[in-house]
């Protein structure tokens, strides 16, 4: 699946395992929250990076203490009208200080990506062909002026003397 990260399409260096797939000896792997909680020590004991997949409706219970040891969290949008992952993303970034990759998976479309970015997502698995084309050609027309601080603070300009206003970069 095409993966868009830091302004370009890149090769996905992660393997996502179903709960019954044996753990490979090497390579970056992502597992469900359930499997992470069950096999935590084995997973964190590996040399290669570990990530957790959450879906809308999951909570962060049980994984917060291990966030510094996770290199990736993938949040699944079961359909793009389901807005729960936006809140989960902000909680991860702002409340719990998560610094690893935050990947949007599932129903990820053109018009949601600017919002996802502001909530702290920095990687996007995209299957929708015209969304892939729009990202590749930098044709995503988005609103760059914002009325509220969000999680993309590092990449946004804060106009002077307006506590909540932000301006984001011209390209995603």
């Amino acid at each position: 699946m095409p993966l868009y990260r830091s302004g370009a399409f890149v090769t996905d260096d992660w393997t996502f395992l179903t709960d019954d797939t044996p753990l490979p000896a090497t390579g970056a792997v992502g597992v469900s929250r359930t499997r992470f909680l069950a096999e935590r020590d084995a997973l964190l004991g590996r040399t290669d990076p570990v990530g957790v997949m959450l879906t809308a409706g999951d909570t962060l219970a049980g994984i917060v203490p291990d966030l510094p040891r996770l290199a990736l969290i993938a949040l699944r949008f079961p359909k793009y009208g389901d807005g729960r992952p936006y809140s989960l993303a902000r909680l991860l970034r702002e409340r719990h200080g998560y610094r690893g990759e935050l990947r949007a998976i599932g129903d990820v479309l053109h018009d949601q990506i600017p919002l996802m970015r502001r909530c702290g997502f920095d990687a996007f698995e995209v299957s929708h062909p015209s969304t892939v084309a729009a990202l590749r050609d930098q044709r995503v027309v988005a609103v760059r002026h914002h009325y509220q601080p969000a999680s993309a603070e590092a990449s946004e300009i804060r106009p002077e003397s307006h506590p909540w206003r932000r301006v984001s970069a011209p390209h995603l």
Partner: protein, 553 residues
């Protein structure tokens, strides 16, 4: 009123460009209707029975004459010469072509307006008391807070895909003209023992198929915590609200199912955590926004106006108009004027382009250039000199806008119903028109006094029938329209959901039924000072039910 600066202008123009791109992708087939629908809804474009409908945001119902003239121009150039003011203080055009919408949005942007978040599962246009800044009973002006909430909620990245739509209303007066207890969040400005400003916070009100009065979850929220607290409420709702059934997805169901105490606890816990993260409301920013809502340069006038009093004595028509459509103002020598959009036999809330221009002219000349839209589907001139009331009356009369019926039986709220709406099950406008024709006689209307009739053409309750003193709900049975009556509802500070009195009535009989209810009230009231709602609360539904159904039994 609020004026855009460069930032605001850039924001709105970027949004127009974004929507133009989305419309282009839809027309070219790049987006399917399923993909496009949530995008167009987020910008107020519906597909109704006859055409696309465009809902334009009028933040907290405040307009300048320049803005109202532009709406008139759009009505002429892109619609059929009229528009419909809604129960959410917005304006709807009913005959819009999708391909024209980006150009219409450009025209709106030119006068600092937009259609952002007038639909969709997001935070909708924030509403406020239509007498804000003018009402004699006001503690503080709610508009600066409504504007702050408008800005904060605009394209909010976290709260654009909520379980369901989300409506916030703010009032600054103890007498609630903004129906805050029927909103997802209702905010009432208040002062604590030290005189500091803050809000009473209500959550979980709403109408629709499961009407609920909001619960008070905070007695006092300091004003600087407004955004953090709203964020906490929205975040709890976004994560916990039901998404399995769209009819159970509003926050009222979450509050109801989790229980008031558990819900409050969840919000307070999130708020406590959030308070450390940001989003307080610094005094300079509050002051910057509040400056835009500074009172206009009122003249120092005596309380009594000789011109006004002479006109009252000389012209019974004017006297009648003044008795209903002029309201007390906080500044001596001024009045608030209701411009009724409820002509006898006409559709409630509609105004033609020429009428909009007439109101714009009157506002520019007599009312510091300000117009309000009320959720009761009328227009309001908030600041008029009492000396000028006779001239304003004459100018309104010339435009067909001087109907002296504010708050009377013919001042009916009605949704568009099956004449326009794709969701409706029955027509509502023709019922409103026939009721107003039945009660056309002004002496009779004034004799009946204060009463609110509200009509919805389906269970979604856009016509607010649940909180009508007399509510009428249009339904369909075996291909025929029929109408259910509820009594005793109220949307003010004594918020109450009306009670269904019995079986519904056919379209032919509904007007007779309303007349029966009103005749019963007139016969049983203790005096003309006991209005319909007070009498109903004293009497209960029994005498009304008996009068309505005795003949049939």
């Amino acid at each position: 009123m609020y004026r855009y600066d460069e930032f605001d202008r850039a924001f709105v123009h970027e949004r127009v460009a974004e929507f133009r791109d989305q419309v282009g992708r839809r027309l070219s087939g790049e987006l399917t209707e399923d993909q496009f629908k949530p995008l167009r809804l987020m910008n107020g474009v519906y597909l109704q029975l006859h055409a696309y409908m465009l809902r334009i945001a009028i933040p907290y119902g405040t307009l300048s004459s320049r803005q109202l003239r532009q709406l008139a121009a759009i009505a002429r150039d892109h619609d059929r010469g009229y528009g419909h003011f809604t129960t959410r203080q917005n304006l709807q055009f009913n005959w819009i072509a999708l391909k024209d919408v980006p150009d219409i949005l450009e025209k709106l942007a030119a006068v600092e307006m937009h259609a952002i978040q007038t639909s969709g599962n997001c935070i909708r246009n924030v509403t406020a008391d239509h007498f804000a800044g003018a009402a004699a009973d006001e503690i503080a002006d709610p508009r600066p807070y409504a504007e702050i909430l408008r800005q904060w909620s605009s394209l909010h990245p976290e709260f654009t895909f909520l379980p369901r739509k989300f409506k916030i209303a703010v009032t600054g007066s103890p007498h609630d003209r903004a129906a805050i207890q029927t909103h997802d969040i209702g905010l009432q400005l208040t002062r604590d023992a030290t005189g500091a400003l803050g809000f009473v916070v209500y959550v979980g009100g709403g109408q629709g198929r499961t009407p609920m009065v909001a619960r008070k979850i905070r007695d006092f929220l300091p004003e600087r915590d407004l955004l953090a607290y709203c964020t906490a409420i929205l975040r709890v709702y976004n994560l916990e609200g039901r998404r399995d059934n769209k009819y159970k997805a509003r926050i009222k169901i979450l509050v109801h199912e989790s229980g008031e105490a558990a819900f409050r606890e969840a919000v307070e816990a999130e708020f406590a955590a959030l308070r450390d993260e940001a989003l307080d409301l610094p005094t300079p920013e509050r002051d910057r926004i509040a400056t835009y809502f500074a009172p206009p340069p009122f003249a120092a006038l005596p309380e009594r106006s000789v011109v006004f009093e002479r006109a009252i004595a000389a012209d019974p028509d004017f006297a009648r108009f003044a008795s209903r459509n002029a309201h007390p103002h906080k500044v001596p020598g001024y009045a608030i004027v209701t411009v009724s959009l409820k002509p006898v036999g006409g559709p409630p809330g509609d105004a033609t382009a020429t009428q909009m221009e007439a109101v714009a002219d009157i506002a520019a000349h007599y009312a510091f250039d300000e117009i309000r839209v009320s959720h009761e589907q009328n227009l309001v001139l908030p600041h008029v000199r009492r000396d000028d009331l006779p001239a304003v009356f004459a100018a309104l009369r010339q435009a067909g806008l001087a109907t002296p019926n504010a708050g009377l039986v013919t001042d009916i709220i009605s949704c568009p119903g099956l004449d326009y709406c794709a969701l409706a099950t029955a027509r509502s406008i023709p019922v409103a028109e026939r009721i107003s024709e039945r009660f056309a006689d002004l002496d009779r209307q004034h004799e009946i006094g204060d009463i609110k009739i509200k009509i919805s053409g389906c269970i979604n309750a856009c016509g607010h029938h649940h909180v009508g003193h007399i509510g009428i709900l249009g339904l369909e049975r075996k291909g025929e329209e029929f109408y259910q009556i509820t009594l005793g509802g109220s949307g003010d500070e004594t918020c109450t959901i009306g009670e269904i009195v019995g079986p519904g009535f056919s379209s032919r009989r509904i007007v007779d039924a309303v007349e029966t209810v009103i005749d019963t009230y007139l016969a049983l009231r203790t005096s003309p000072r006991e209005n319909f709602l007070a009498a109903y609360r004293r009497l209960g539904e029994a005498p009304f039910r008996e009068a309505l159904y005795a003949a049939a039994e």
